[in-house]
Subunit: 745 residues, 2 copies
Amino acid sequence: MVWSDTTINASEHQAFQSFFKAVDWLSEEDRKYLTAKLDPNSPPSREELEMWWKTIKSSVDNDTTYPHLSSIGIEILKKNAPEVAHTFPLSKVEKELGNLESQLGIIGQSAALTFKSSHANISTSYETKKGFETEKLTALLDGRRKPLIDEIKSVISKKEFDYVDPGNLKEYREQVLVWCKMLADKGYGSIGFPKEYGGGDDMEGYFTVMETLSYRDLSTVIKFGVQFGLWGMSVFMLGTKKHHEKYLPAIGTLELPGCFAMTETNHGSNVRGIETTATYNHKEKTFTINTPHINARKEYIGNAALHGKMATVFAKLLINDKDYGVSTFIVPLRDEEGKTLPGIAIEDCGRKMGLNGVDNGLIAFDKVTIPKENMLDRFSSVDEEGEFQSPIASDNKRFFTMLGTLVGGRIGIPRSALAASKSGLTIAIRYADKRRQFGPDGTTEVPILNYRMHQRRLLPLLSKTYACHFAMEYVTERFLNRKEDEMQEIEALAAGLKSYVTWHNTATLQECREACGGKGFLSENRIDALKNDSDVYTTFEGDNTVLLQLVAKSRLSAYKEQFENMNLFTVIDYVVNKTKTSITEKNPLIIRNTDENHLLDPEFHLNAFQYRENSILSSAGKRLKRLMDEGMDPFDAVNVAQHHLFTLAMAFIERVILEKFIEKIEQTTDPELKQVLKRLCDLFALYQIETHNGWYLEQGYMEGIKSKAIRKMVNQLCWEIRKDAVPLVNAFNIPDSCLSAPIAT
Amino acid sequence: MVWSDTTINASEHQAFQSFFKAVDWLSEEDRKYLTAKLDPNSPPSREELEMWWKTIKSSVDNDTTYPHLSSIGIEILKKNAPEVAHTFPLSKVEKELGNLESQLGIIGQSAALTFKSSHANISTSYETKKGFETEKLTALLDGRRKPLIDEIKSVISKKEFDYVDPGNLKEYREQVLVWCKMLADKGYGSIGFPKEYGGGDDMEGYFTVMETLSYRDLSTVIKFGVQFGLWGMSVFMLGTKKHHEKYLPAIGTLELPGCFAMTETNHGSNVRGIETTATYNHKEKTFTINTPHINARKEYIGNAALHGKMATVFAKLLINDKDYGVSTFIVPLRDEEGKTLPGIAIEDCGRKMGLNGVDNGLIAFDKVTIPKENMLDRFSSVDEEGEFQSPIASDNKRFFTMLGTLVGGRIGIPRSALAASKSGLTIAIRYADKRRQFGPDGTTEVPILNYRMHQRRLLPLLSKTYACHFAMEYVTERFLNRKEDEMQEIEALAAGLKSYVTWHNTATLQECREACGGKGFLSENRIDALKNDSDVYTTFEGDNTVLLQLVAKSRLSAYKEQFENMNLFTVIDYVVNKTKTSITEKNPLIIRNTDENHLLDPEFHLNAFQYRENSILSSAGKRLKRLMDEGMDPFDAVNVAQHHLFTLAMAFIERVILEKFIEKIEQTTDPELKQVLKRLCDLFALYQIETHNGWYLEQGYMEGIKSKAIRKMVNQLCWEIRKDAVPLVNAFNIPDSCLSAPIAT
């Protein structure tokens, strides 16, 4: 054993010398022989080492436990030379050699296993076990939209939808257009439009389509979303009957491909700052759409580079030189043959990190004239006298009402992201269950999902994916049944979940990529496409960081209506006073409670999440008030507290997610499903508490002993969920043809 | 103000009613008028709101501070109707209206700013300021290799090296080969080879080339590394004179493109498990190389799909049916014309997440015969009698010595990763300095780098990039001057830094992508290529998670020689005893010390990092010993503690990084550079402590008050460094032609 690294160092040499002197059962000859064999300057030959190894190995019994290495030595002696053995005080020898082993830092019992040809170990033998009916869990996840989901899955599983190489932009974009047409032909494009214009009057169906399509090519999902969700919905939500009649039927069938031209190079998040103008000419009853400079071009516009024939254009309305703020207009871009119209200049955005099947472009308008009826006039219009009219008096409110109608996108995108996460996890977890690498000597290698680190990399993400699924179900439901006075809350929920879920997706796919090693880097296994295509989800439909600032402001002014329009300094007193009493008291017994029942109690989890949310809400409110009371400019004050506000928004969203997960489990009746979901929920909750343990300890909400117990419990839950992991991803029920990854199918 | 969201809610309405009743200076008529104007059911018209707004705005003086909104009202009254004004008890009115504002949650002084056309604020005006000479910092970063660095930068800045579209695999791969040939022609390929074989005897130069080339196309860097670093260095390090003479000159000029065929489909990290065989035939003096089954094919092999003519093949050596473990052999793959030789079957790995200019492939050998002299026989050979020979007796030691010769790759890769991070940060920080979005009313928009969240996203990563730079300088130096007995330490350092730096790179580029919004998603700005090309760095040259396990074991057995060959159960007693006394005592004064001088004291930082490293080392050692003492299988025990070991390795590497950063600053004499580097180092140290604050609080190393002070200090440092951020990335001195991103140049 000491020669196993072919070196004997000074302290080891010293230990032997002292030992030889101390024991009384070695003859002078024995001592000499041993000293020679343990001379640091003359290691044994390869053959000699091999002979020793074989001798020991052949003498070891797989089923015996050897307390020391020397126990094996004594066995060999007894068997091979019984006549010599009895001349030694064997139990004394074994004990003293055992002490020497300890002195050398050897744990004899463990070291003895090296010589066994096999021995029981948990790491190798642990495996997937069926603990519930995956079909039942699939049914629970799909809910009442199961028939539609199954129908779409069967459509996108067909050969015509087979993935194509994304290398050739031209071919890829044309293919994606073909796919969108095939989907439109099935009626999926217009499913959210009113029946009278060829639609299905089924907005929930639209979200289901967006999500389910996301198991296939994501460029198709986004091109589909641009056409039907952005272009179509903007005409529907911002326009009036005349627009609906004229455009919606052809949009729904994709006969009229169009764009949603809001973002400009210089203004993305800050939509109010856009510089494109729409000047009203009362004499001709027309508008002139104009791009004042190169950085005011519409940018990243989907469908613009190749296929879009018209666009909903956001522009500042000017009447008699007076600026009436942002309004929307339908502007033709191309003629029937696809030729760009006069005054329209389009540039291709070229290759992107992902979504290369979508033809994004830049659009410039050089004094393009459109008829008056092209103004989408639901929220603002110009009357017969050429005067501005609006049903909403406040410019602010009008602006945010207009944008608020587009909140659906902030539900469609995270649902698509979640589908991408599910695909990534299905691939990575199935692979980890089969892939073996390393293992104890003499056994088969260990499935990498049995490694604790691998579990920690993937399983908390799996639990979070389930958690987000139920939260998205909830916000969808709220949106579909929205009432006017709930809009502020629903918009905040959608913005927050959009941010949380899309970041979760990015992190999940990155982890899946790495967890699959070299296989994860090959495009054939599709994690790269999932990651790169969905990466921009954290940026579009509102940049996550910006959105979360809005969510935080909304929390600080929970009783106001339009959360994007908050002047914080008008409202924070309210929240400061409100939260004073609502923070749960810290119980001195609970902060040290490491009892398993307590740690796995959903009430404890929810309390911890609520405590965090309320505390941060209160402290952020107080801080802002203090800064402004001291005379700091409110914009500066909000900037100083920006990280604080970010944390507040995240804490709010996490509390909502946990709450909905717990409710879902309470509603679940099947005992097997209830158990596995409860375990996932426990992992989600405790993993988040572990992630924020610095904050909890800082607050005195728990003590070190409890945070350590939570870390241990997270490891334990990962270990327990490992056996369910494959069934849990199978329950996502993603068609193999969509997954396509050879390592997963 | 109350109508600003066009709604008056019940509590607001209630507040007005009580107020009107309470004050004595309103006439009945006034009350009626006001009540009518504040009727929740009849909001003012657009025109009326606008008139109010204009009236107020035109009366407000930009330079006056108004304690309440009502202070503005009184000004208006005094100016427009002095005859009415004097009939009111004005100071009482102002005070009572001020109270009403508070009651409504309005901070009057802040709210009054809304009506000013402009007012001073910090968020808008803060900007880049020159605090040091960037050239001097560049010189400090480049050190003695500056001439070579400048030379390479000028080569890769030329037109011939302009980026090509990665969409067409065939063209891209041929272009990358051309680039590699151009670099070889300059002598960069053979720079690390001995002079006698056409090289430059300059291993340090080789690392410098790898790093500097990484400012250009990363496929070129990896193809270059495969040819000269892996294929060339394996012949040099594992072969003997006959191989050097025969192959090195042609490898160095790229006349002989080759591969490094180690990894197999079923065995990546676990190299010892490879199944390719090399059977010795004594009669013919040949070896037969064979792939036993499809999953034993060599996979991901760079240069294999198209260009490689030969390969260093790792295979199990069999002599007379006896397995002598892994050895290496030169196996021809293609003839002069590039046609695959008989018995060789190559499959293209196809498109990958990145590095698509490298032709990775799978190789299968169907009983391919090679002459005996093709065995790379430095560490193992077959003698004239057909007997196995090796200068290293132990199979273990031989194996790890062989792999240890390839440790250079674990230095080249993180240096390349760091160059990618520097490119990403240069692009993202320059963009953030120019890009403006949102701002207080009446001012220009704010550069997004002035937002606290944006600073928090990018600046800690900038500080870590600098920290890693100096750490890589250190490990390179150690490697170049290595002595035999330092190899275990150097291998652990290289493995640890490879993992740490490549993960840092992945995280940095992801953040840069998002921080540039839509612009970051466009390929023209190159963050996508940087991210996708370097993503696999965390996987190849040793998977990070696996490497860190080895690093941890090395720390637990610091006195052993070959760290990859550790049987943990033979050594952990040592470390358990050793660390008992080495943990710094917790000082009751220091755990609460929030003094700025203390928080910015490098001694405090280093102590905190050392304390963490030593504590985790000790607790991990004790835990493993306890588990094994209880009789747990050692493999299982290591698995149970895997997350613990991971943390240990990370803590070790972080301590080394901080130590080297602090040393570098001590050696810096220029006061301006010293100051800016000190600030970066403070941010690096405190950001890490903040990241691990849960652990520190759990241990009682600090109290909540201190961890809060650290969070505040991190914000403060980010704010201070923001003005240096652009000069700090400019000091990386990356040619604009290499950055190429329009948003950065």
